[in-house]
Structures are given as structure tokens and as C-alpha cells.
């Protein structure tokens, strides 16, 4: 059963140096504040997993928390490149970053396999592309009935999954709605899980398009209002497009970025 705890305690307890950590949320419901807490607690050598590494992963990478990134699209959506990510890949700053690169379909299916207790998933993907030449977690597989050649990718089973949701009840049942991305799969694929929520309520009213993760499928819940900022939580907040644009300038310059990290470590709210 999920325990409702503080974000600080949840990260201290669940996220260890060297862990494989998946933070999911497809544009919507990105667990950004949880990422800042990981920076604050100075985690190191993480393997970060995320379909769409954007600002929060740029921040974690720039802060030196990661040694590897598993992903399918890395950018500042609607703005441009991730400068900390590029600096780490191209210049090894502040530490070298290994990458393992897939397509969205491949990553989504890796989570599905992880959530399903299977060691791999099958898809029609990657054929003819250069991705299998640079990524060794893409292999051919043959249909035992038709003989057709398809592609296999291995399951992802993170040590920890972190997602953001709209609500939880006091028993730790979690409810989210709107674009739900691969959050359910990430939580179910992981050994441990943390859900930050906009609010903890007495009762979860059913919502059209909503899904519930039962308390017994989640380890920790932390109430973090605005915890998806600058992304959004449908029904609670709007996407802060200005922050995405502002991040470009902060992240372009190592010194500017380090000042940003110091502010995060000092516990400041960092809304740009």
C-alpha cells in the first residue's frame, strides 16, 4: 500500500546513487519538482530513462546526476535543443553521458514489456534505419507461425519510476486524466514507484478519461502542488510556455546554469 510522505523523504528513501530512474509524463504531468529534489539530494551515476527528455532531464544531466540516458526524443519542445544534454554528449560536461537511443514506439513497447513481466516486446519498427547499428537493444525476431521477420526490444524495468498525477486519496490510490502517456506502464514496470500529486483528497470522484492506479501498485505518494511546472496538470494548471523559452538562455551557458543549480540546492523556487 502506498504511503503518503514528503517529497524529500520519498526521494531519500527510493532513489539511490546508480539507480535506473524513469520519470515519465508526455508533455503533460511531468514530475519536474521531483527532479529538482533529486538534484538537491545530489544523486550520482543515475541511468535516466524517459521517452522525451526535456527540461527536467536537461537539469538533471547538467547537475551531474546522470551517467547514462535511455530515450527516444530529446529536446526543448517548441523551442529547440537541450543545451546541457548536448554539452554532456558532445563535451562530457560536467560528466560524460552515455546514450541508448530508441524510437517512441520502441520505448513505449519496452515499458509495456516491463509492465507485463515479459523480457521483451515485438514491434514493426526500426527496419531500414541506422538505429540498430548504434543501439544494441534492438534485435530481429521471427514469427514462429508465419516466419515473418520483426523487431524485438528488451523490457525496461527501472529501479524507480516517478510520475506526477492530479490526485490521490489518503489511502494512496492515484488518479490521473487527460494525456496519460506511458505513466501506468512506467509505474508497473518499476521495482519502486513515487507519484507526486497536485492534491490529496478524501475521495476520488470518477472523471471521464480518468485512470486509477490502486494504492497497492504504488510505493510512495507525495503532495506537490504545481509539481509538474512548467508542464501542466489538466484541470489544475496551464503549460508555462514562457519558462520553456526562458530555459534556453539559462541552459546555453555553463555559468548561468550553475547559478541556477545553486538556487535549486538552496531550496529556492525556480520558476525561470
Amino acid at each position: 500500500m502506498a504511503e503518503v510522505v514528503s517529497l524529500r523523504d520519498a526521494v531519500a528513501e527510493l532513489v539511490h546513487d546508480g539507480d535506473v530512474v524513469a520519470m515519465e509524463g508526455f508533455t503533460h504531468l511531468i514530475p519536474v519538482t521531483a527532479g529538482h529534489e533529486i538534484i538537491r539530494q545530489r544523486r550520482r551515476d543515475l541511468t535516466l530513462v524517459r521517452m522525451t527528455p526535456d527540461i527536467v532531464y536537461d537539469q538533471l544531466i547538467g547537475a551531474g546526476c546522470a551517467r547514462k540516458l535511455i530515450f527516444s526524443w530529446g529536446g526543448n519542445p517548441g523551442v529547440g535543443s537541450l543545451h546541457r544534454f548536448r554539452d554532456a554528449v558532445q563535451h562530457g560536461w560536467p560528466v560524460p553521458l552515455e546514450i541508448e537511443e530508441h524510437s517512441h514506439a520502441g520505448m513505449a513497447n519496452r515499458y509495456v514489456a516491463g509492465a507485463s513481466g515479459l523480457p521483451f516486446a515485438v514491434l514493426r519498427g526500426y527496419v531500414g534505419t541506422d538505429l540498430p547499428n548504434v543501439t544494441d537493444t534492438i534485435k530481429p525476431i521471427t514469427c514462429p507461425f508465419t516466419g515473418e521477420a520483426l523487431t524485438a526490444v528488451p523490457a525496461i524495468n527501472p529501479d524507480v519510476a516517478i510520475v506526477h498525477a492530479q490526485r490521490a486519496d489518503r489511502a494512496g490510490n492515484v488518479q490521473l486524466w487527460g494525456l496519460v502517456g506511458v505513466q501506468k506502464e512506467a509505474v508497473l514496470a518499476a521495482r519502486r514507484s513515487l507519484v507526486t500529486v497536485e492534491e490529496v483528497v478524501d475521495e476520488l470522484e470518477p472523471v471521464p478519461g480518468g485512470m486509477v492506479l490502486p494504492s497497492w501498485a504504488v510505493d510512495r505518494v507525495a503532495e506537490v502542488p504545481g509539481g509538474a511546472h512548467p508542464s501542466y496538470a489538466q484541470g489544475y494548471s496551464e503549460r508555462d510556455n514562457a519558462y520553456y523559452a526562458a530555459w534556453d538562455a539559462i541552459s546555453r551557458d555553463r555559468d548561468e546554469f550553475e547559478r541556477w543549480v545553486e538556487r535549486v540546492r538552496a531550496g529556492e523556487e525556480v520558476n525561470a
Binding site: G74, A105, R124, D130, V180
Partner: protein, 253 residues
């Protein structure tokens, strides 16, 4: 209708929008493709079904979405589904008519690179965002339209990295690999329109936008460009098309 002044980007978006027709199911990449697809839906193709990889089927936004996961896509959709479902149940089986993609680099056989510029993947000149949904969009849609700003740098003989497979090295390589969709059948740039030769699958210039010469297109192409016997000239944007396009952009800024 009189035609007012317009930019090359506006001409590109209008030309791309016109390629879509009502009732088609269109898997929309963000950026130029999304602009064109939304313009089509707001002008001649109101029945166009827009599908975004964030998990929305039949989105009907009244402004341009700021990202692939803009809330307006979910709020106006016929159905909102998970990301695994959009790829596995909707894209992969070939239910989508047109995949509408952008590119950082595009080559003479319609292969798309959005991964790295430079020959060395491990030490690239420029690290691009990566694949996203594009490889499987390119593989599994019935056909693929590419919208891209054209220059010698973006329009190359052979991409540095094949992120999304077009026609490979041509001459039917796509079919030999067992890919089901027809691949890139149309490329629209800020200068003109290209289609693959039916046999060699090399991209051939079939149209130029108003005021653009074939010579200009050649100069912005990184290979020995083939030109169709009849090169059409794209009709200029109508004032209605421009008004809708500008209103869409205005509403999203």
C-alpha cells in the same frame, strides 16, 4: 480573391495543407507538419482526422498546439488513449493514411535524419533530438508527406544517419525490406514540390512555388537534381488561406 504578400514559409504551409484531403487520417508531427495539417482542417478539409503521438485521435484544435502534448489536443479529441496504444493499435497496423513529418536532413531518396549531423554518431557535429515517433510513422502510414525548409545543408545526397527510412537507396529497396506503407510520396519545401520517380524512387522536382526558378531549386539541392518534364507552378496562397493560417498562428502565440 486577391493574393496579398506572403512569405516562403507561408507558401510552404499552404502547399502542404492542400495536399491533404477531407476524411483522411493524418498522423501529425509537431512544427511545420502540424501547422499545415491544422490549416487544411480549417480550410478545405474540415473532416481531416488529426492523430498526435501523445495519444489523441481526432483532435480539433482552434489554434496551433504549442507542443505535441498541448492540452487542447486532448480536450478536443474524439478519443484520448495511452502512448503505447497510439503506436500499437492505431499506427502499426496501417490505419493511418498519411504520416506528416518534418526533417533536419532529407536525402535524394526521401530518407530522414533527425539524429546527428556528422559521420561519427559517437562524436557528432550536431546532436539533434532523435527519432521520436518518426521511424514507425514513416514505416507504417500508407504514405508519408515531408515538409522541410530547403537548403544544400538540409537537402543532401545521402543523410548522415537514417532515422526514418524513406526509399533507402531506391529501386524498390523499401518493398524488399517488407515495409508496408508506400513511404515518402510527396516532399514540400519553401521552394517547390518533389515526388519520387516510380521506378528509381529518386526525388524529382515536379513543381515550383510562384517566383521560384528551377535554377534556384537546383542551387538549394545537395545532389544532381532531376526535374520533371512538366514543372507545375504552385498557385499562390489565397487571401482566405493566408487569413486562416495567420489567425491560427496568432491564436497560438
Amino acid at each position: 480573391m486577391t493574393t496579398s504578400t506572403y512569405t516562403a514559409d507561408e507558401m510552404m504551409s499552404v502547399a502542404a495543407a492542400r495536399a491533404l484531403s477531407g476524411g483522411q487520417r493524418c498522423f501529425v508531427g509537431i512544427g511545420l507538419p502540424s501547422t499545415a495539417a491544422n490549416l487544411a482542417r480549417r480550410t478545405h478539409a474540415p473532416d481531416l482526422v488529426l492523430i498526435y503521438e501523445s495519444g489523441t485521435l481526432g483532435s480539433k484544435p482552434d489554434r496551433l498546439p504549442a507542443s505535441i502534448g498541448d492540452g487542447i489536443l486532448a480536450e478536443t479529441a474524439d478519443a484520448v488513449i495511452s502512448v503505447p496504444e497510439v503506436f500499437n493499435y492505431w499506427l502499426q497496423p496501417g490505419r493511418i493514411d498519411v504520416g506528416f513529418l518534418g526533417a533536419a536532413q532529407l536525402d535524394k531518396f526521401g530518407n530522414i535524419n533527425t539524429t546527428v549531423i556528422g559521420d561519427d554518431y559517437a562524436d557528432p557535429k550536431v546532436r539533434l533530438p532523435g527519432a521520436g515517433g518518426a521511424p514507425e510513422i514513416a514505416a507504417n502510414c500508407h504514405e508519408v508527406y515531408v515538409v522541410v525548409r530547403q537548403s544544400k545543408r538540409s537537402f543532401v545526397d545521402q543523410v548522415d544517419f537514417v532515422t526514418s527510412f524513406g526509399h533507402g537507396r531506391g529501386n524498390g529497396e523499401r518493398a524488399r525490406l517488407g515495409l508496408r506503407g508506400a513511404g515518402p510520396t510527396l516532399v514540400i519545401t519553401d521552394l517547390g514540390v518533389f515526388r519520387p520517380d516510380p521506378d528509381s524512387h529518386e526525388l524529382v522536382l515536379t513543381g515550383v512555388h510562384p517566383g521560384v526558378t528551377v535554377e534556384q531549386v537546383r542551387e538549394a539541392t545537395g545532389w544532381e537534381l532531376r526535374v520533371a518534364d512538366d514543372v507545375a507552378t504552385t498557385p499562390a496562397p489565397t487571401s482566405d488561406e493566408l487569413a486562416v493560417l495567420r489567425a491560427l498562428k496568432e491564436a497560438s502565440s
